[in-house]
């Protein structure tokens, strides 16, 4: 038989390659390890590290939601009790509502401010560099530092800076952090101050990607500068508006620092956001299982938002 079939097979079937069909899986693994040894030397520790510190904890967190896990003592399996308890917990709903309220105060002003900053900077006039650096400094500064300054600016007494400012317009001093409504607004203003410069970066990149000829055409058609921004810039930046809205909303749901530093969730739970609540449950009451359920609620919100974003921004959006 073999004589009737002269060796005209392709190279991979001849010689060693042909034997490989009869190799045990062990030999194949060994050969693959040898051929790509560098990749495996690097990736095997990386995968182990990833399993221990990222993937493992994530799976573990899901299991935790079905457990009663006090820090001291024996963990017990309790089924859906944590989930059921969370649905019946008025503070879970309260903190979700508070977080939504925070998002309402924070998202839109931050976007408008970031867009305005990008628009000013894109004019490339002298001085825009200073503006660009200035608006980014709060973003690279710790929220705890800014919170300390905010505590001072919005001090409730007449000696507070903002109250002094209001006094100029003969508005009586306000008790910012002990007022249920004002507290959240002032905490949101801190985030607006910190994050708008960050959004400016995205808007600036977007503005620079809009081709000049569109503005030239509009100019020929007699559009003034405001009309150019309104009818060309804003609609063309739609993917960026959308992206930026999603990331700031995700950020809003993770807000924690100023609640932790300034109000401690008060007054009367008015600034207890979802992350602040999970911190309380997990690390003050030490109920790890229940805290994980609260964290999962946060995860579902974040996951939902980024899924929406992927759905709408999955493909590169281009209008020109």
């Amino acid at each position: 038989m073999s004589k009737l079939n002269p060796p005209v097979q392709p190279a991979y079937l001849s010689g060693k390659g042909r034997v490989s069909a009869h190799l045990t899986w062990f030999d194949r693994v060994r050969r693959e390890l040898k051929r790509n040894s560098f990749a495996y030397i690097v990736m095997i520790p990386v995968v182990i590290h990833f399993l221990i510190f990222e993937f493992g904890p994530f799976i573990f967190s899901f299991i935790l939601t079905f457990m009663n896990w006090p820090l001291m003592g024996v963990p017990t399996f309790i089924g859906l009790d944590n989930w059921r308890a969370s649905l019946a917990d008025p503070l879970v709903w309260r903190s979700l509502w508070n977080t939504t309220l925070f998002a309402l105060y924070y998202v839109v002003p931050t976007i408008i401010l970031g867009f305005l900053q990008a628009l000013l900077i894109s004019s490339n006039l002298p001085g825009t560099r200073i503006l660009r650096i200035t608006v980014l400094v709060p973003y690279v500064t710790s929220g705890v530092i800014v919170a300390g300054i905010w505590q001072y600016i919005f001090k409730g007494s007449e000696t507070g800076l903002f109250n002094y400012f209001l006094g100029l317009f003969s508005i009586p001093p306000q008790p910012y952090f002990s007022d249920k409504t004002l507290a959240m607004i002032v905490l949101a203003s801190l985030s607006i101050f910190r994050v708008s410069g960050y959004l400016m970066i995205y808007y600036l990149a977007g503005l620079r990607s809009i081709p000049r000829h569109l503005y030239e055409a509009a100019e020929i058609d007699g559009a003034n500068r405001f009309e150019s921004v309104w009818f060309i810039t804003l609609p063309l930046l739609r993917p960026i508006h959308f992206f930026v809205a999603v990331i700031t909303t995700i950020g809003a749901f993770q807000v924690f620092e100023q609640m932790f530093v300034i109000t401690h969730g008060g007054p009367a739970f008015a600034t207890t956001t979802i992350v602040y609540y999970l911190y309380q449950v997990g690390f003050n009451m030490l109920r790890m299982g229940y805290a994980t359920v609260v964290a999962f609620i946060l995860f579902v919100v974040v996951f939902g938002l980024s899924t929406i974003q992927r759905r709408f921004l999955g493909k590169d959006v281009s209008y020109y």
């Binding site: 980014l136 970066i201 995205y202 993770q254 995860f299």
Partner: protein
Amino acid sequence: MVRKFSRLQLVLIYIVMVVMIIAYVIPFTLMVLGSLRQSVNFIPDLGYMLSNISAENFRYILQQALFPRWFLNSVIFSVIPVITQAIFCTLIGYVFARKDFVGKSVLFWIMVSMIIIPTQLMVIPQYIIFNRFDWIDRYWAILVPDLWAIIGVFFARQYLQTIPREIDEAAFLDGANDWQVFFQMILPLCAPAVATIATFRFIANWNDLFRPLIFMLSDTMFPLPVGLAALYNIKGNFGVQMAAATLAFIPTFLIFLLFQRYFTQGVQMSALD
């Protein structure tokens, strides 16, 4: 924009710009001014506010045993991850960009999709695991998980894809091995990507509150954000609080000024994940 601005438009633009810059600078001015004064009260008289200035608060905070320790802890929590991530993220990114191994695309996909999981969810199981390891209140709890990060790997891989393969293939033909190619060619070629990863990591870790708040229990292990938050709870020493805040502010401010370009690139990059 195409056409020239009219005089009125220019005036308007500059008014808005100046107001915005002033509004952004005021909080930091207050911080520095507060750190140099003893009195807590705001008095609307610049001359008065600038009189009786002293470095007393700085002297006081630096003589306290805890504050220098917090500063040192912050340096440890930020500088070591900057170094390890600069090397490891580039190395892993190099493997993902240039090498083949079983399960590469699945692994990459799983790692990238983990990015959206909020830290606040991961911290709880990590706390329980680190408790078993006896890592709570030790540097390991931050340093070991931060040896590398997927976002940096993603960035390095993306950057390497813009570098032609021929460059490293030529080195292999000259008889270099993988480690030589990586350390002598790839790492230097990736300098801009490394700068971005390092700048980002430094700022993120220097400002991180949540993880050290949970993993570090004793005040000698606090980094600055946790220590500052504790300091704020002692009422009535505003000057000292602002002196501490000013010292905590300086490092990220300087890093940002020096590496602005890389920082901006990193921000734009993180949008593409």
